[in-house]
Amino acid sequence: MSNINCVLRTVLLLLVVGFLLTCALVCRAATLAVPDAEALLKRSDAYRNGWPSYVLRVKITHYESGKADEDKLYEVSQKGTERTYVEFLSPREKGEHLLMLGDDMWVYLPDTSRPVRITPLERLNGDASNGDVARTNFSVDYSAVYLRTEKIGAENCYVLDLTAKRKGSTYQRILYWLRVEDARPVRAEFYLTSGKHIKSATFDEYVTVNGRSRLLRWTLYDEIRHNSNSVLEYSNIAPRELPDKLFYQGRTDRF
């Protein structure tokens, strides 16, 4: 009888230990399956930034009902995550410049020959706003939460919910699809403070520059007027040493 009791106690003990181990393994697996949203967001920013300071050109072509309507050309200089300087190169806007320092923005207009302080609402002007061109570090402007994993075409994607954490953010909320294997941006939806879904984006083409994969072309779709979209194409992408003076708001010597 005592032998049977020992056996039974041993079996019971093994069952309990086995159950606890299984619970621990299941919990660990669950933790591993939820990705670190903030880390993913930071990793995805590298496709649109990638260097401490760099210069590139952006060509924005706007389409109405499938036909090219207008195009604009900019040269963007960025240093760190807080300083962006944009020179307008299209004939109509030649001589205009835009400077962003954190949440503060100035426009330099040739008519006024001095920096003009502009408000966040003045950034949302046009099909592709100044913020779409100048603010490319989502990890600085938004906090991220993982929502789910889903398939977009043939790509498995993490879906992140980004919420603006500073007043300089162009949009109040972004839904962001990132490729599972390398956090490469695939798609995005942009929302205003009112909750209105104002734009969507697809990240269409990438190129390797100096050993890094960089975004080459993406498309912004107007969710208010569904027959309107803008294509942003990057070129002349290069890391470059940029002086701090370039990002001084009082500088009137704009090139």
């Binding site: 004939p91 109509r92 030649k94 503060d104 001095r114 408000t119 966040p120 290069a238 890391p239 040493e241």
Partner: protein, 401 residues
């Protein structure tokens, strides 16, 4: 055996070195960079019910509602050449050809046989008749960038003021005309100066000495030495300005701009030059992109600030400016090529004002057309009521390269 171990170690070291070199090294900057622009503007301005200043001998216009047509063709080339981000050379000019129609001696009742009266009348009408050409150098300067310092020598347009229609702190700025604050025809000219700027982090110091030797006497400028300290702190873009006009006044002032929330921008200037002058202004942007600007300005009645039409005994003046405008009227085809704006500037002392309307329409990337309307109101002795026309309408075409 040791050699066999050394080979993979050396290969690893070489690969690491290549990776480091390829990763973050910034390539050398372009040797030189060149920017240019060219604008051509054809402007036709109609001055309705023009009342030119006449000598006593000319009694009255045969047709009191004479309309003067002024046609201007402006050519505005500019270029900037930068070498290795260190040296720069820039120049811009405006060539103007203007002609007048609609006013001549024949419009007036000059006593017959009075040759002297006819000659005096012809002299008085000279600014409103004939054809003239003019070439003005707007900017022409060389610059050197050395570390945190920038040095400039030559003619430059500098704007230290923060006001939109009024700027007492713009001690080196071109004259700011409240009915034309953006210099819509781009004819403002810079000042000849030597300037040094030091920029380090959020701090900037500027020291400028400007000469009036080459400026026309009508510009009423003095040799000026001016200093500015500028800092961006907690969202406030603030400047302290001090200086002295040779054979004139010493001055000091402060300016600031700040954005609040999503839609508000506040700006202000306070300057002491014999007496104090203050500008306070605000800009509000609606969610649909309409901008409203309001400014209040009070200058002392001293020679530096006084308009020609204001009496020296009139005391301190007060002005208000209001503006509403939207670029890209609506984000729809055919609408987004339009910009509209309206503004009013009023002398609160004599209740005279000028209302301004602007409409611009863009065609493609290079062309635009515009309408500009100014309507002065007020008594004959008031600042804006003394304007010699009842309305000025301008229409023009602009080509930009």
């Amino acid at each position: 055996m040791r050699l066999l171990w050394a080979i993979p170690v050396m290969l690893t070291l070489c690969a690491g070195r290549i990776a480091v070199l390829a990763q973050d090294s910034a390539p050398p900057e372009l040797r030189s960079d060149f920017r240019y622009s060219f604008a051509a503007i054809d402007d036709a301005t109609f001055d309705s019910s023009l009342r030119p200043p006449l000598p006593a001998a000319a009694t009255m216009l045969k047709d009191p509602s004479v309309t003067l047509l002024q046609n201007q063709l402006l050519l505005e080339p500019s270029f900037t050449l930068r070498y290795r981000s260190r040296w720069s050379v820039a120049a811009s000019a405006v060539g103007r050809a203007e002609s007048f129609h609609g006013l001549s001696v024949a419009e007036f009742d000059v006593p017959s046989g009075d040759a002297a009266a006819a000659a005096a009348l012809g002299t008085a009408l000279e600014p409103y008749t004939g054809t003239r050409t003019q070439l003005r150098v707007k900017e022409s300067y060389a610059g050197l960038s050395a570390g945190d310092f920038d040095f400039t020598l030559g003619r430059r347009i500098v704007r230290w003021g923060t006001g939109y229609a009024f700027t007492p702190a713009g001690v080196l700025d071109p004259p700011r005309v409240p009915t034309n604050p953006t210099d819509r025809l781009n004819v403002n000219v810079g000042r000849d100066m030597i300037k040094a700027d030091w920029v380090h982090g959020p701090h900037a110091l500027s020291l400028a000495w400007s000469s009036a030797a080459l400026m026309p006497a009508s510009a009423n400028l003095h040799d000026t030495i001016a200093f500015r300290y500028n800092i961006l702190m907690h969202g406030f873009d603030t400047s302290l300005i001090a200086g002295d006009d040779r054979a004139g006044d010493a001055f000091g002032g402060v300016t600031f701009t700040r954005v609040f929330g999503q839609a508000w921008e506040l700006h202000g200037e306070g300057v002491w030059r014999e007496q104090g002058a203050v500008v306070m202004g605000a800009k509000y942007t609606t969610s649909c992109g309409v901008s409203f600007i309001g400014e209040f300005y009070t200058p002392p009645n001293i020679a530096y600030y006084r308009d020609m039409s204001i009496s020296p005994s009139a005391g301190r003046q007060h002005y208000a400016f209001l503006y509403a405008g939207k670029s890209r009227l609506r984000e729809l085809p055919g609408w987004k090529q339009w910009d509209l704006a309206a503004s009013i500037v009023e002398n609160l002392n004599d209740r005279s004002s000028t209302v301004i309307f602007d409409a611009t329409r863009r065609f493609g990337s290079h062309f635009s057309s515009y309408l500009h309307l100014e309507i002065p109101e007020g008594g004959k002795g008031s600042e804006y009521g003394a304007t010699p026309y009842s309305a000025a309408s301008s229409a023009g075409v602009r080509f930009q390269l």
